[in-house]
């Protein structure tokens, strides 16, 4: 019996079937098509703008992905995001804290809110759908009560400066952060003990528990991370618009949070994540959104298109899986 590393043939087969390839191909194709129709699509300004909005979508997707890993879901991603947004605004505006400190504290809030979700779910055994549905409203409600839905527009100039800073003419810092985050998450789930335990807990909680893994801890960590990432996404919006607005996040983030990961191959049932896939999925969505904008196809129709597209993508994955199984 041999335990030699996999033959190249098998590796190639796995690569070919991975959703990542299809996504990358679609991204490339659309990019070419849109640029052909409207050369301004590939302009450094448009790339920069896309990169900024992509960063937010990617991180929102990651925020959901880390919870999907343990077999749950987080409907309060948007609510936590907006809480962190307003918290940072208030810290900078009313307490006069310097942006780095305000951001750090806002992230801590995100982690705390996420942690609360995790503890509630782990300790009471309540379904994560219902629990986060409830906390989404608890958090949003609390935020609205405290801020009275008043946006905070006067933020220190450094904030918008980060947002408008361009590296190499078309790369925005948030995008770099998002990519680094992706690399970190890849390492986390592939190699770190906590990440691997989270995936085990998501795939089969009973088996994981009996093998000495603390499933509760995995769930709490996943929600804590989710809250932290939701907060990070919120802060990325703050630097982009240069203000703290209570309209950010909320239910708007629900679809994007699932779209990227699901398109990319993360399992809804838990136990398996695809970091690169989530990134590519978000990229595809951003390209489509930007393309429609640049081509002047009404922004209103974007929603329709996104919905149809998600359906088509999920169906395609499903039928590919079935076709492949039939051939074997």
């Amino acid at each position: 019996m041999s335990l030699a590393s996999e033959p190249a043939q098998r590796a190639w087969g796995r690569l070919r079937d991975a959703p990542q390839i299809g996504l990358a191909a679609a991204i490339a194709a659309l990019f070419i098509i849109f640029t052909a129709r409207q050369p301004a699509f590939a302009s450094s300004f448009n790339l920069f703008a896309m990169g900024r909005s992509l960063a937010v979508d990617v991180v929102v997707g990651f925020s959901q992905m880390v919870v999907l890993a343990t077999g749950g879901m987080n409907l309060s991603v948007g609510a936590i995001g907006v809480c962190c947004v307003m918290c940072s605004g208030w810290l900078m505006h009313s307490l006069g804290l310097p942006p780095p400190l305000a951001f750090l504290l806002a992230l801590a809030l995100g982690a705390t809110l996420g942690g609360l979700n995790g503890v509630a779910i782990a300790r009471t055994g309540v379904n994560s759908f219902v629990a986060t549905l409830a906390t989404a409203n608890l958090f949003s409600g609390a935020m609205l009560i405290l801020t009275r839905a008043v946006p905070i527009n006067r933020l220190p100039p450094e904030v918008s400066a980060i947002g408008s800073y361009r590296m190499l003419g078309f790369v925005s810092p948030p995008l770099v952060v998002a990519l680094l985050l992706g690399a970190a998450l890849f390492v986390f789930f592939s190699y770190s003990v906590t990440g691997k335990e989270m995936l085990a807990a998501g795939a089969n909680p009973r088996a994981a528990a009996l093998s000495g893994i603390s499933v509760d801890r995995s769930i709490i960590v996943s929600h804590l991370l989710s809250g932290l990432l939701a907060g990070l996404a919120g802060l990325m919006v703050v630097v982009r618009v240069g203000a703290a607005m209570p309209a950010v996040g909320g239910e708007d983030w629900l679809l994007p949070s699932f779209l990227g990961p699901v398109l990319g191959g993360t399992a809804l049932a838990g136990g398996s994540v695809a970091v690169l896939g989530a990134l590519l999925g978000a990229t595809l969505v951003t390209i489509i959104r930007s393309g429609l904008l640049v081509l002047n196809i009404g922004n209103f129709w974007l929603q329709l298109f996104l919905g149809l597209f998600l359906l088509a993508a999920v169906l395609a994955q499903r039928y590919r899986g079935i076709a492949r199984a039939r051939l074997e």
Binding site: L3, S5, V187, S192, L199, A200, A203, L210
Partner: protein, 522 residues
């Protein structure tokens, strides 16, 4: 009696003729033939991978044969779906319950033919007709009881009643005694005998030799997709012949020499009561010793193990690990602080993560140990840590990345155990290690367990397989009804030990007749 007249002339003979079924070039069934005659309990036996479940799927209409055919009373029959098989008169009671939990017994029985009166459901008619169905088995359950409130055994009986009320003339039961108590099994067998008397053809799928010997009239044995025996009268078959039919050679008992003298006490339960319902459990586990925990299904052995590792609570008495009173809150503590491991009896549900690779499954218990300073586990470190155990257990997998779901049952069980070998626990509780495992692997695992004990791991072996217990254990603690009823030194002689064990169990309970002659011994 009206009941009797309904059954007359409504018997049916189910024939299987030269059936072949292949999945991706592997022949699960290769030209098998057999007949299930009315008025007989016909056992279907075979090791894991022998083709039993494929045959069951074909008979119940879930799959269609590639070649060969089924016949009913001599006429060819083809089922395109489970509904077709049902319509043709083949009723099945599967391993998982097929009832709607929040519906009443009556509604469940009448589900496909809910009676209506002027378009609206007629609940009175449901109760009436369900009552008739239950009366076929003399079942006293109220038809308005919610199914979720019934015991597993009662649910099974409801399913049988339902099948009969749908005019099932062939009744197939798949491992029916897997999750019911001995008491309930006896009641089930009484029902089956009655049905047999009324002309129903009963197909009894089981891996429990004792039961098959006790209640069936004929036995068919499958081995590697082919027939090893077809419809042999049970009176002409001995237990050892049955085993040799299943494995193709004489049963090789593992050579477990009693190696070293028992060492210090590593685990002790003193007057322990648990949240599962145990009361006053006393047992002592020593190093270099295999302590057997024998009992019939429902005795509470698995629950006791789970209480020890912290899944349940110990509500009374004391648990001592290495002489010190301890409280274990969860399996994580059990493993990391007390070095106690538990090989689950439910390998697919609790022992393994089927969707993950072999490497992950084996290394799960030791990630923390093999991680580097940054708490990262490199693939090569994992491979290095896992390979020795994979080799030692001779696990057949294409690579460490192969998903466990793709392995055979025996290899899956090996992975489940390898994980605990890797964890290097001091105490290992092994729960039903060889259920549904082919005999060759069974022997390998027995030798492994013996070897573990000789190396100093204190083994607590839970098993319902008398022969396995007697072959491996140094001492046997007998459990019944969530309590300990006796403890016996093992003299390794099957006849004396099995009698002694049974006496302990039956001392606590009035003897129950099973089948025609009480519990059979070979």
């Amino acid at each position: 009696m009206a009941r009797h007249s309904r059954r007359e002339n409504l018997t049916m003979r189910l024939g299987v003729r030269n059936v072949t079924k292949a999945f991706a070039n592997i022949r699960a069934l290769d030209g098998v033939s057999m007949e299930f005659a009315p008025g007989e309990i016909h056992a279907l036996m075979g090791e894991n991978g022998a083709g039993k479940s494929t045959l069951v799927k074909i008979i119940t209409g879930v799959q269609r044969p590639d070649a060969g055919e089924l016949s009913l009373d001599g006429r060819p029959a083809a089922f395109a779906s489970p509904r077709d098989a049902l319509a043709a008169g083949i009723g099945a009671v599967h391993q998982e319950r097929n009832l709607i939990p929040l519906f009443s017994v009556g509604e469940n029985i009448m589900l496909e033919r809910l009676p209506t009166k002027s378009g609206v459901i007629d609940y009175a008619a449901i109760d009436r007709r369900a009552r008739e169905a239950l009366d076929l088995l003399d079942l006293g359950i109220d038809t308005r009881t919610q199914v979720a409130r019934l015991s597993v055994a009662q649910m099974q009986l409801v399913e049988i009643a339902k099948a009969l009320s749908l005019n099932a003339r062939v009744l197939l039961l798949d491992e029916p005694t897997a999750s019911i108590t001995d008491h309930e099994a006896a009641a089930l067998f009484a029902v089956l005998n009655r049905l047999k008397g009324e002309g129903v053809a009963i197909v009894f799928v089981s891996h429990k030799l004792d039961e098959v010997m006790a209640i069936s009239d004929r036995v068919t044995v499958l081995r590697d997709g082919r027939l090893a025996a077809s419809g042999e009268p049970i009176s002409q078959v001995t237990r050892s012949r049955l085993v040799s039919l299943m494995i193709g050679r004489e049963e090789r008992r593992a050579e477990i020499a009693r190696g070293r003298a028992p060492g210090e006490t590593v685990l002790e339960l003193a007057g322990v009561a648990t949240s599962y319902g145990h009361a006053n459990v006393n047992l002592v586990l020593r190093r270099f010793e295999i302590l057997g925990l024998y009992g019939l299904v429902g005795a509470g052995r698995t629950e006791l193990a789970k209480a020890v590792i912290g899944l349940g609570e110990i509500t009374g008495g004391r648990l001592l690990v290495n002489g010190r009173p301890t409280v274990i809150h969860n399996p994580h503590e059990a493993l990391t602080r007390r070095r106690i491991g538990y090989v689950s009896e439910d390998r697919k549900g609790e022992g393994l993560i089927l969707s993950h690779p072999v490497g992950t499954n084996v290394a799960m218990t030791i990630w923390r140990r093999i991680a580097s300073v940054l708490r990262l586990v490199s693939p090569s470190a994992e491979r290095r840590a896992v390979k020795p155990f994979v080799d030692r257990l001779a696990i057949k997998a294409t690579s460490l990345s192969q998903l466990v779901a793709a392995l055979s049952g025996g290899n899956q069980q090996k992975v489940s155990i390898a994980k605990w070998l890797a964890a290097e626990t001091h105490i290992l509780i092994v729960d039903e290690p060889t259920v549904g495992i082919d005999i060759k692997t069974k022997v390998e695992l027995h030798e492994l367990i013996g070897g573990l004990s000789r190396q100093g791991v204190a083994v607590l072996l839970i098993s319902s397989d008398m022969a396995e217990m007697i072959a491996l254990a140094d001492r046997i603690v007998v459990m019944h009804d969530f309590g300990v009823v006796g403890e016996i030194e093992n003299d390794r002689r099957y006849e004396t030990m099995s009698k002694a064990i049974m006496e302990k169990i039956h001392g606590a309970d009035a003897p129950q007749p099973i089948g025609h002659d009480g519990l059979a011994s070979p």
